[in-house]
Amino acid sequence: MIFINGFFLVNFIPFGILALAGIILFFSRKFKNEKWHYPLLFIITVILFISLLRISVIIGRRYAMPTMVPGIVISVFAIMLLPEILRRFKIKYADAIVRLAVVITLLTCAAKAMRFQESKPYLYKLSEAVQNDCDKNNVNKAVVLIFGNPGGKLDFSPKIDVLKVKSLRIRDRFIDIEYQLANLEPEYLKLSYPLVYMLCVGPESGNFAVDWAKRYHDKPELVYEYIRVKDQTALQLYRLTSNYPSARSSPDELGKILINNNILKNGDFKSKHRLPHEDSSAKVLRSCGVEPSADGDIYFPEKWMIDPGHGWKSACKPVSIKLPEDLTDALIIQSKDWVSIYTEDAFDGGKAYLVAVQAGAGPQGGKLTLWAYIYSADMKYVRTVSYQDIKLSSPSCRELIPFRLDNCEKFRLVLLASGDVNIKNIMAVPAEKSAK
């Protein structure tokens, strides 16, 4: 169905119909023309083959696009046959009628081409509304959550982050939001951003703010609304305001909050300890190609562990771990596969944390991801939760990750690295320490 729809879109309906008529006429013996027959047979075979091949790859109407070329050729064929067909019905001025019809249709083509350009003033107005509101509230960073498809690119300033929630459907709006934002609760965006905007695209009658308040117990304020006339779609911009100092702090102030309230021990990996020769972790590290120090022992950051059963067993050689030597150094992990390290201490679940990771990638590139191992109250392993990739740049950058684990008693933070990764520091602060 998408293909047929696409065929008429790319060929323009009158010429799409002519192309289909042309295919039928081609197989009619009455209109056989030896001069055109074989090249046209080729063109028609091409269009039929492409139609069959394309049906599997079509996910949008524009994927029917290559049918436009043979479609035009077959339309030309049909147009060239039309006077002859009209003459058979003894219609006077057959050639003239066909030519006039073609010219009129071509002019409607041009008109149609211009009508594609639908004005979308709201795209600018929405960006402006966000910028003006930020200026009014005297903040220089914010995040916009986009629910639905606004129909174009929103031109926000570089200081405004955008998170797209693509699969929003109004009927099951909160199921989708819950799914998309499971790891990024809107409340915890407020740890990092003083203002959280939500752009909701939906029917005019939708009541986004009320539904949101029911789900998240925080009523967003309507900042801007635009009703699209053609389909009565409402584009509503809502705002949530953060009361966390961490969101409004300068990088230095935020650094102080993080340092003063950090609950992770040895987050800079500076203290290290010797792993006993017979220790299972030491054996796994050695088997992965981690080179021992000059005294033949393997040293590892204190308060950090490896899980021999996860990642490490299947890791391809060689894995290299270099511990920081001085204040400017970082823990360097180089590995083809994912390898993980996790905190020895376990933290309380059901609370929100703000995790700050300062890390970078080497010249070969690397990836770093934050996970959590979930435990029961008696520290029995329950499951693993993957969180999010950490942005890496060279030499290092700091990324803040709002973090919350409900429905669990205890958890340990896990860092998964692949490629050439250097981790300078990791800190975790309970959210209440960052709240007023």
Partner: protein
Amino acid sequence: MKNKLASLLHFLDRDFTLSKRQVIFAAMALLIIGLGLRCGYWTMRDHPPRDEEFYIQAVENINNHDPAWFKKYDYYSPLMPKIAATVCRSGITAETALHMLNMGYAMLWVLVMFFLCRDVFDDDKAGLLGMALAAFNPYSVRMACQILREPLYILIFTVSLWCAVRVIRGKGVNLLYPAIIGALTMLGIYTRFEGFEITLFLPLAAIIILLQYKIQYLRQAVTNCVIYFLTVAILAAALFWAGDSYMTRIPGKLYGVYVVSKE
């Protein structure tokens, strides 16, 4: 009034023939109208479409030799951004280069449509009619003003189709056309992964030649096919050998689309 209409219809009805000069003039006029329509559409744009950002970033990352980007998007058909990146080295911005190239591909396509229709029907008037349909086609007008891979792909597709028609018409008896179609097949695949559909053209053309001339052209058809497949195989092998990550991903993509999705 009735007489005036009748005389107008008689004028339109007369069987006219066009001289070479008139054909060139009409073709030029259609090109100018086509360009005018596209420029008109372009000036009416009041918002950038969504795909543009990605392609502009792609061109900038190619020129900055960003390894992370190459690793992340190694499955992505590279021809269109790479051509634009090359043009960008002359000092123009990625956005301008992409827009200029897309408009250029779109206008070249309108011109190639003239040659394709002329060779299919062996008639200049059919060529002009095909060119008019291409110049006024609303969807092609829309695509020409956006940053998409489609204008380049449609150009490669049409040139391949035209070469195949010339082979059928016997205008491509020499061995150049099969080799050109082979090279265009690879370019098509590098523009969009669905470009492998161009591999159909030359074998189909060979079958049509055999239908048209019966068995007496068997040698010509087989030679054309051999030249064509040799060109495709040599280019594909060279790219595999050079470790081109996109080429190594094509079999997996085809398997994913045509085998796994069916299961």
